[in-house]
Symmetry: C2
Subunit: 354 residues, 2 copies
DNA sequence: GTGAAAGCGCTAACAG
DNA sequence: CTGTTAGCGCTTTCAC
């Protein structure tokens, strides 16, 4: 008993065991330089390493090479499933590229400044930033220290950094095209608060998508916040005006909501009005938040591929870092990747009753 | 322009700037040893460090001290909000204790073996394990390498490791007590699959909680999986038997589900049977998964404090690591912390109609 | 209180 | 192809 933490095996020990020099072992174990080593020696070294259970000491390698091969992944918090997907995607891609992701959240209780210091002390080679622009103190600190950054889910106002962001126009077009393909021509919009960016952006995108089919919205309900109740109220109002009016435009058969929460509010309104989904009204949401596949009927919505966005951000970051290492800091153009979304067709949409 | 990544400031530079020796700076900047330094020198060193923007190089410190001050946090995946909370809690506590968390998921696409190697190469001082027992290959590899581990949300079958787990008895007692306090006496149970641990555990806990009130379940519905539809079917069956039987026991007024998903299935069944929640039937879930506050009526459930569990696991781990460093590996007893839960009363429960 | 010197484990010139 | 040598930046004896 009492196995007093066996001290990790070093390169030196492997070298001794294999009867060669340390540097030979170092080369043999590096996939990039193993071809420099004779086959016989290579085999011997590998056998020794395996037998002794050698694991390279990253700290020592970092110190020597001046690169840590680790990348910070900065998120506002880790409990949000969207952030989870971004982290997961970034991890997958980074590991595959031979880097180690360091996940760091702003909800750690540490001050903004300390979060930056922590990352800097780890000598990260780059950082993927998914935090809100309000927290840019960190980003600035990191950039000043010469850390390369790529943004996820938010654009860079200065246009200096590459960013991977969602394509709002594409997203709304998917919703509208889906309804149109089902045969809907009288479509009402349930828009989010026009005081915030995504609110106006999505409304405009929806109008544009309708226009592409030479349509105008049958009605537009404005919600003053992204809450279920706001969606419900706006929707009830829409239904009321539908009755009072007789024009063709007012008799809509489908609702395109700016967001899943608002769509769920529309569910409530339909319920109260005694209308069945999707028989009397088709409803489509936006975002595919968790559990909307569990409501009745399961919500048709548009999924943002946050996982892929995380992967893409990682790939761009590493590419830029390695380009910089090769070509020097000279003029790299920053990319903006607009991400495609995907339609998730479930039970809340159907062809209109003829 | 062309700021070619300024090389990080080293201790040596700070020493030069302050006109003292490197070792003096090292001592001055370590809160544990700064008292060894004269006040004047201390002030001078600190000023220099700040002025030059010195950040300690953790890799160098790790190498020298033989401890990385970093802790692995192993989760099955990062997209699950439960895991998010555990990671978040662990991060908060670890950072406060001066450690750096390395979040690693099994969904990274890397093989189990490689995930372990990665952690080992980082020379982590310990690991918090929130993965399922199926993935114990990793855990075994880490333990064999002498890494200290603490489990979250799962017990150690061998009783060697400390674990922070939910208290199923407490959780079910909260549900039952809540229903009892509202006046319910004829309570049906919706149990999960008896083939898995949490299924039997929760059922037994519920029976025990009822017994504490000298009650027996009015009925027990067994679901063969944790799905909404399984909950619905089991619940419909319960309702059918309720009609056919006339005994007092069969006419239950409340349902206590083993899980939120099953509870949502019960919602469906009530809907189909034309019963209103909570007027005709009270329903209580378990877990408080995201969005159950958005269903109609909002689900009354029991919340597991995963965030606190993550924090607690971190504290225990560090405590044990530091005790081991101080006292040697000698016989440490492993702790099992049963975590308290909290009732979240929302709209799905009410007093029974008299 | 402070300085000097050694070395953690590894990689990267430079020799041969 | 393989060995030699010199550190990366830091902490930690041991002197003074």
């Amino acid at each position: 008993m009492a196995s007093a933490t066996p001290r990790p095996v070093t390169l030196r020990q492997v070298a001794q065991h294999a009867g060669v020099h340390v540097s030979t072992v170092s080369r043999a174990l590096d996939p990039e330089r193993r071809h420099l080593i004779g086959e016989a020696v290579l085999a011997r070294v590998e056998a020794s390493a395996r037998e002794l259970g050698f694991r390279p000491n990253y700290a020592a390698a970092s110190l020597r090479r001046g690169r840590s091969m680790s990348i910070g992944v900065l998120v506002p918090n880790m409990t949000n499933p969207v952030m989870g997907q971004i982290m997961q995607g970034a991890e997958t891609a980074l590991v595959k590229l031979g880097y180690f992701p360091l996940m760091v959240s702003m909800r750690s209780g540490a001050s903004t400044q300390l979060v930056a210091e922590r990352l800097l002390s780890q000598r990260i080679d780059g950082v993927i930033v998914a935090t809100a622009p309000q927290e840019d103190v960190i980003l600035r600190t990191l950039l000043e220290a010469g850390i390369h950054a790529v943004l996820v889910n938010r654009p860079d106002k200065l246009g200096r950094l590459s960013a991977v962001i969602g394509d709002a126009e594409h997203a709304m077009a998917l919703s509208i095209d889906h309804l149109h393909a089902l045969g809907h021509r009288r479509i009402a919009l349930l828009a989010g608060p026009q005081s915030i960016l995504s609110g106006t952006q999505r409304l405009n995108a929806a109008l544009k998508a309708l226009q592409a089919h030479k349509l105008k919205p049958a009605a537009v309900g404005l919600c003053d916040e992204y809450s279920r109740d706001a969606g419900r109220r706006a929707c009830l109002q829409l239904l009321a005006s539908r009755k009072s009016r007789t024009g063709a435009g007012a008799r809509f058969t489908a609702i395109c909501a700016a967001n899943d929460i608002l769509a769920l509010g529309a569910y409530d309104a339909m319920h109260e009005a005694g209308l069945a989904i999707p028989r009397d009204m088709s409803i489509v949401g936006q975002n595919d938040i968790p559990l909307v596949d569990l409501v009745s009927p399961p919500l048709t919505t548009v999924r943002v591929q946050h996982h892929e966005m995380g992967m893409q951000a990682a790939r761009i970051l590493i590419e830029e870092i390695e380009a910089r290492a090769a070509n020097g800091a000279a003029g790299q153009a920053s990319k903006v990747v607009l991400f495609r979304h995907e339609m998730v067709v479930r039970g809340s949409t159907a062809a209109p009753r003829s």
